[in-house]
């Protein structure tokens, strides 16, 4: 297809506008994170720090328990990712291979669970976890995150299982392999990359999650990174901009790295089922 020169130019102008829109808040965050207090107080802020400094990062760690928070986030996110994938993979296998009432109901639940306002679930969960003495505990949060991560974990995994040809399993069965043997030595290796991608995605969503953590974790030493970040913003909304930016940037790094690695797989997995329908 030929595109005229004017149209081409228009396309590039539009693309550039998109790039600016997507990039500028993030560049500003970076710029703010590396500016010394003197420059932050200037009435005419500049894009590039004239005198870049790491002082904001040091101050951020002094002001809030960022290391503890990062550790809590890591435990919660790792726990959620591992448990969610462990229990979702077998179920996704059944959902993908067998059209039973159960798997239809599970699919329905996956869809409906996307639509529910969390507040309707969090109040009862709060009461239940309180009775189990799991309020204010990272394991309690992990339990919530596992269930919260299950819908999309199932969705992605069902897509990945469908991508493994059932014929391969049948061939193995013809060759005399038992069902378990087939699953372990034929299906599992083909599924492994999808399982890893799903786990990483579950990790990121748990790492980024805020609402449940805000409600369930009360004492500062138990809180996760997103909750601790909000403490940088004072009651009056006044914030120490430099340390705030520094801490926010640090909190984003793990997700950015992981996401950059698995981005293709995620979109593939998410869309595998969706687009075909």
């Amino acid at each position: 297809m030929r595109t005229g020169r004017a149209a081409r130019t228009g396309q590039y102008v539009a693309l550039l506008a998109y790039l600016v829109f997507l990039a500028f808040p993030f560049l500003w965050l970076l710029s703010t994170a590396f500016k010394p207090a003197r420059e932050l107080g200037s009435l005419h802020p500049t894009w590039i720090p004239e005198d870049p400094t790491l002082a904001n990062f040091r101050q951020a760690f002094d002001e809030q328990p960022l290391l503890d928070a990062a550790l809590n986030s890591l435990v919660a996110a790792l726990g959620a990712a591992v448990v969610a994938v462990l229990i979702a993979t077998p179920m996704a296998y059944v959902m993908a291979r067998h059209r039973t009432t159960l798997s239809r109901m599970a699919t329905g639940w996956v869809v409906v669970s996307q639509a529910f306002p969390f507040v309707l679930v969090i109040i009862p969960l709060f009461l239940v976890l309180k009775n189990l003495r799991l309020i204010n505990s990272v394991p309690g949060l992990v339990m919530v995150y596992v269930v919260w991560a299950l819908p999309f974990a199932l969705w992605m995994l069902v897509g990945y299982v469908r991508a493994v040809p059932a014929e391969l399993e049948e061939a193995a069965a013809v060759d005399g392999a038992g069902k378990l043997r087939t699953l372990v030595s034929v299906t599992a290796p083909l599924l492994a990359p999808g399982i890893v991608a799903t786990a990483l995605f579950a990790f990121i969503t748990a790492w980024n999650e805020f609402f449940f953590a805000l409600v369930l974790l009360k004492s500062p030493e138990k809180q996760t990174l997103p909750v601790v970040l909000t403490h940088f913003i004072g009651a009056e909304g006044v914030a120490d901009l430099g340390p705030l930016a520094a801490a926010a940037f640090l909190a984003t790094l793990p997700s950015l790295v992981v996401f950059a690695v698995i981005q293709k797989r995620i979109t593939g997995g998410m869309l595998a089922g969706a687009v075909k329908s």
Partner: protein
């Protein structure tokens, strides 16, 4: 996060079954429970259960930290809600916000997806940048935009000053500007997901159709309407319905940006319900709010399903 609401129909492969195959099949059918239970039990205990419990709570006077036992009060919470102007204000703001974010977001994402589907230089950069809003914690997105909107040290006002467009203002604290300001952030934050979904739809469009249409002398708009749009319509409908619902339910972004202020101008229903439940301890009342939100969301879902049916089932 899911993007569509139906499972694709897969034709059952016709296959001959040996008696051994039959036996294997039945074994797995029994074994299937063993495979399903590890996920099913947590789903029932921690998701479906609390959901039903939450609905039940809406009909009680449950409060946190109260000594008297909780009692059934019928539809009293709902009657109170009916007269709670603050709640309906937040409800109206929630709808404004959901539509205000979803519509521009969809149009912008469609534009970007169409661009990214072309062979342009810099395409890789746009794809790489699109990861940023997607991977960021919502809290960080909120913080980042607070830095942008900052009345003194923010880049937005400085740019406006440089362009000679007035002296800038405190966007997030202005009664008139707060909601539009947070809507811009909402659009920014959700654009990548919508773009990727639409892009995937575009890439499923057969290129030959386009070429044939171009050969017949169809202009760009006509090609879009007759070839591109029908191909991406299912994805577009699904992602828009989900975006509407997700936005209506959103919390973290606005909590960080304005915490519902100024004067409740950005108090989304979730922020309102959160305050009722966890600041004032009104569990029953907040649960009733959740129920009303569910009712509205069901309407969106129903409309979406009607759209699918009209389209004639599977495409």
């Amino acid at each position: 996060m899911t993007l569509a609401t139906a499972t694709p129909k897969r034709p059952r492969p016709a296959k001959r079954r040996t008696s051994a195959g039959d036996k294997e099949r039945r074994l797995l059918d029994h074994g299937a429970w063993f495979l399903v239970l590890p996920a099913l039990i947590p789903i029932l205990v921690l998701s479906v259960g609390p959901l039903l419990y939450g609905i039940a709570l809406a009909f009680t006077d449950a409060q946190s930290g109260r000594t008297e036992p909780t009692q059934w009060i019928g539809t009293l919470n709902f009657q109170d809600l009916l007269h709670d102007t603050l709640f309906w204000d937040s409800f109206r703001i929630g709808l404004l916000w959901a539509v205000g974010v979803t519509v521009p977001q969809f149009l912008l994402a469609l534009g970007l997806a169409l661009l990214l589907n072309q062979r342009l230089r810099l395409r890789w950069l746009a794809r790489a940048l699109a990861i940023i809003p997607w991977a960021m914690p919502e809290v960080v997105v909120g913080i980042m935009w607070r830095l942008v909107y900052n009345p003194d040290a923010g880049i937005l006002n400085e740019t406006l000053r440089d362009l000679g467009l007035g002296d800038g203002r405190d966007w997030l604290s202005g009664l008139a500007t707060a909601l539009p300001a947070v809507i811009v952030v909402g659009v920014w934050a959700g654009m990548p997901q919508t773009t990727v979904a639409l892009l995937a739809g575009l890439q499923n469009t057969p290129r030959e159709l386009h070429e044939a249409a171009a050969m017949d002398g169809a202009g760009a708009w006509r090609r879009f309407r007759t070839v591109t749009w029908p191909a991406i319509r299912p994805v577009a409908l699904a992602i828009s319905a989900l975006n509407l619902i997700w936005n209506f339910n959103s919390f973290a972004l606005v909590y960080v940006l304005t915490n519902g202020g100024p004067g409740g101008r950005t108090r989304l229903p979730m922020l309102f319900a959160y305050e009722e439940a966890f600041r004032y301890g009104q569990f029953g009342y907040a649960a009733a709010m959740g129920c009303v939100m569910v009712a509205v969301i069901s309407v969106v879902l129903a409309l979406h399903l009607v759209g699918r049916l009209r389209r004639g089932g599977d495409a």
